[in-house]
């Protein structure tokens, strides 16, 4: 079949701006986008630059944007994104500088991975293997599946506005150690991850979960580490106060109390933050839309409260 592939080109050596180039190639029905790109490079245009190696979604080289979202092109069939022969647009990943064409500079990606001390820390070397449950190892398989392709980083909405954010890939990697029963640095790790640019800066937008080609679900790992950090006693964050206040509100009233949430998350000692809230509050009042001081409650809210009590004690027993 004939496939139409539009590729975003960039050559740092000729001073020209990035531009789109259209290619038309003859490929077989089950061809992947990578097959198509390789064919272009080998038969039509030797100047096209891209990274690829294994062709089997295990090496993590070939993450690029396909029709706007990051994918491993080796496991994305042309038919899948272009059932009627529509043009497929391929661009380099976002949130990375471009070296040439589809090749991105991954230095900052790797330095963030390095920043989380990505190796198991133990205080002693056992004579044999560490004893660990199969469940604990199988659980880690989920994050060990990460092939460091960068797709999650390309899509991360928090990184888009703040390049210092540790980001989904490095944080998922951090979880691999935090959750490893053999690692003896858990508390220190969580302390560091609790600081700014760490777990609380994730905006929970689910973009990383959506694009991850290996089902690593980085955001879920990040969220889990927030909880683990709290368990370790790291509670002096607005993130903690936010979660706590939100949960309390639901448990007490069955619904969210926005006013109290805002006040409590900001922190009652954070004067400038409180003034800020007051300004928005007064403006809202002016428009006649400030939430009522006593929140609208669902009927029989005590039922919700009872469920919360039961499940909270169940969780703390675990």
């Amino acid at each position: 079949m004939e496939a139409q592939i539009k590729v975003k080109r960039f050559n740092p050596e000729n001073g020209a701006k990035p531009f789109f180039q259209d290619y038309s190639i003859d490929v077989s029905e089950d061809s992947t986008i990578l097959d198509g790109l390789i064919k272009i490079r080998e038969e039509q245009d030797g100047t096209l630059a891209l990274r690829c190696s294994c062709r089997a979604s295990i090496c993590g080289s070939c993450s690029m944007k396909v029709n706007g979202s990051a994918k491993l092109v080796c496991k994305t069939r042309i038919k899948e994104v272009s059932p009627q022969g529509e043009t497929v647009t391929v661009e380099p990943m976002s949130n990375f500088p471009v070296i040439k064409d589809l090749v991105t500079e991954m230095d900052s990606f790797w330095s963030k991975v390095k920043s989380i001390d990505p190796y198991v820390k133990t205080n002693f070397e056992p004579e044999a293997e560490h004893i660990a449950s199969n469940e604990s190892m199988t659980h880690l398989l989920g994050v060990m599946n990460c092939i460091m392709c960068g797709a999650c980083v390309s899509e991360c909405t928090a990184l888009e506005v703040d390049s210092t954010f540790t980001g989904p890939a490095a944080l998922a990697k951090a979880y691999r150690f935090v959750a490893d029963p053999r690692d003896e640095d858990k508390k220190e790790r969580l302390g560091k991850l609790n600081e700014s640019s760490g777990v609380w800066d994730c905006s929970r937008c689910l973009a990383c979960v959506e694009v991850c080609p290996k089902d690593v679900a980085p955001m879920e790992r990040i969220v889990k580490m927030r909880d683990l950090a709290i368990e370790e006693g790291y509670t002096n964050t607005s993130g903690f106060r936010h979660t706590e206040s939100f949960s309390d509100s639901i448990k007490k009233h069955g619904r969210l109390d926005e006013t109290r949430l805002a006040l409590e998350s900001t922190g009652l000692l954070n004067i400038s933050g409180l003034i800020d809230l007051a300004v928005i509050g007064i403006k809202s009042l002016f428009k006649g839309k400030i939430p009522p001081p006593l929140p609208h409650k669902p009927k029989e809210a005590d039922k919700v409260t009872n469920i919360a009590k039961r499940l909270d004690s169940e969780e703390s027993e675990e």
Partner: protein, 557 residues
């Protein structure tokens, strides 16, 4: 000019294991790799890593015998002994580094069965063992703050007074070329699967180290020993791990029969890979296949089991073929997978060139002989990667200072520039595809005098056409067009060596099955083949196989 004690070329498992050891030994180590370390092809090993752990009643000698029988008695038995004795320690060390090996009910390391062995001694991480090991070794490289030339391409090894002195390489990102001196060099560049088309191997497996070694005078050994893996997807040749059969999957033909009963009644689907691949090919040739394939059948294992232990296989089957392994059998066929042959080394990875070492798939110590057992390749990389670095310590101490002639660099620069300056010609991919097809045809599961001779002629012809290849991309930054051509130059050396090895060996042994000489001939051919440059020509000789405790017997599965 950068200076190091030890330069390791390649950052897969063998390279990283060697590097970590070098740093631990106090050497100034650098690793140079054409892809980021975690992109290396060690990733693709799925099923596991073998070891006989003595504290749970296993015996290294049993592992050694299985390996030697698997090798069809071509492996050097002293090397096999080293590997199998050190395996236990290697596994425990990997676990301590952080590998998340599967566990048994007591929380100790758990095993799965693998081909060619009766005892289950394959330690594993789901179906991503190679990847899990590689990422952990990369973690160790971060811990040891290893110096890595990342995305650098080596074009040439440098010798001084007959000893190795370093390498010339360029930074793929900038095109900047440098002379990097080192008192010792470990080649850990992996396999050469792309010499064939199709192959399970990654696009980077272009035999760079084999050719680099040949160019400085090291011989390749037993290059004719090409492993065809029994379970590769038709079409693009992607691998489906032996772990499937280790965990109980069946092979069935178009009539639904478990045909291995005819070929290996005792071991069934878990006979050695060469045996299973030939069985499949026979079924296909005799008309009991479908579109050139037979089937791998996992249905009876159940969805949950498949997803937990063989998750990556399920992913590959679904993504590339749209097949749910718990619901239908998947068509597979033998596919080029591994080269048992490689740069001849001693038990410490040392080659005949002082200061030059090799480890992993590019090397041949020889532990795999004529057929490698599944899950022995990862072990090979870890054991011999470490040994090479250890051995280099003493050598480096005694090597004296290096005074490499800077003109080496300018000579190499102009060689590359001349290639870039070729005005026009054919594209390198065209030549590479011709090579791949010809190699698969000539040096396949079956081969004979005619097919081998034809392949030799074609390879000679291909070498003659190399100067007609032109590089369309003239830029410095990320010029993959140039890289592909230079890889093709390496591959032609390797391809020709494979053909010559195959031509030399006048018998059938392991993976080398000649339809014109169907039996093993121990009286004449308990020998290694050696291919080496003599001037511009390749010269083929033989050397004896080391036999210690295990006398060759008939090989029945």
């Amino acid at each position: 000019m950068s200076k190091h004690d030890l330069l390791i070329i390649g950052a897969g498992l063998a390279g990283l294991r060697a590097a970590v050891e070098g740093v631990r030994q106090g050497l100034n180590v650098a690793v140079i790799t054409k892809v980021h370390p975690v992109r290396s092809h060690s990733n693709a090993a799925q099923g596991g890593i073998n070891a006989a752990l003595t504290d749970r009643g296993d015996d290294w000698e049993d592992h050694a015998l299985a390996t030697i029988k698997g090798s069809d008695y071509l492996a050097d038995q002293d090397a096999v002994e080293v590997m199998c004795r050190e395996a236990g320690e290697a596994i425990i060390e990997l676990e301590n580094m952080g590998v998340i090996f599967s566990r048994d009910e007591e929380g100790k390391l758990g095993t799965r069965a693998f081909g060619g062995q009766k005892k289950a001694r394959t330690y594993f991480v789901g179906a991503i063992t190679g990847s899990a090991l590689l990422h952990v070794l990369y973690e160790q490289s971060v811990k040891y703050n290893l110096h890595i030339y990342e995305e650098w391409f080596v074009t040439k090894l440098i010798k001084q007074d007959g000893k190795i002195a370093g390498a010339i390489a360029f930074d793929i990102k900038t095109g900047q070329m440098e002379l990097i001196t080192a008192k010792a060099v470990v080649l850990a560049t992996g396999g050469a699967g792309r010499v064939f088309e199709p192959s399970t191997n990654a696009l980077i497996c272009t035999g760079d180290g084999l050719s680099l070694a040949m160019q400085v005078g090291a011989p390749l050994m037993d290059t004719e020993m090409i492993q065809y893996h029994p379970t590769t997807l038709a079409g693009n040749g992607i691998l489906l791990s032996e772990a499937a059969r280790g965990d109980g999957a069946y092979l069935i033909n178009s009539e639904g029969d478990r045909f291995m009963e005819k070929y290996a009644p005792d071991y069934m689907e878990l006979a050695s890979r060469d045996v299973v691949s030939r069985a499949e090919q026979t079924e296909i040739d005799e008309g009991r296949g479908v579109d050139g394939c037979v089937y791998l059948d996992l249905r009876h294992l159940g969805k949950k089991f498949i997803e937990e232990r063989l998750g990556y296989l399920q992913e590959v089957a679904l993504e590339f073929r749209g097949i749910d392994l718990s619901e239908s059998p998947i068509p597979i066929k033998p596919g080029m997978h591994y080269i048992m042959g490689g740069i001849k080394t001693d038990l410490n990875g040392a080659t005949n060139i002082p200061g030059l070492y090799a480890a992993g798939e590019c090397a041949n110590v020889s532990v795999h002989g004529a057929n490698r057992l599944g899950a022995n390749s990862l072990l090979d990389t870890i054991v011999f990667g470490r040994r090479a670095a250890v051995d280099s310590v003493e050598y480096i101490k005694s090597a004296g200072s290096l005074n490499v002639d800077e003109r080496e660099l300018s000579k190499e620069k102009s060689r590359i520039q001349n290639i870039l300056d070729r005005p026009k010609g054919m594209r390198s991919a065209e030549l590479r595809n011709k090579m791949g097809t010809a190699m698969t045809k000539g040096i396949g599961v079956w081969r004979d005098k005619d097919s081998i001779t034809e392949a030799i002629t074609k390879m000679k012809n291909l070498r003659g056409q190399l100067p007609n290849v032109f590089i369309e991309n003239k830029g410095k930054v990320f010029n993959t067009d140039l890289v592909s051509y230079l890889e093709l130059e390496f591959m032609v050396d390797v391809a020709e060596s494979i053909c010559h090895g195959a031509d030399k060996r006048l018998e059938s042994r392991g993976a080398h099955f000649r339809t014109d000489m169907k039996s093993r001939n121990d009286s004449d051919w308990l020998k290694h083949t050696l291919v080496q440059f003599a001037g511009e020509e390749l010269n083929t000789t033989t050397s004896d196989v080391t036999i210690t405790d295990w006398q060759p017997t008939e090989r029945v599965y």
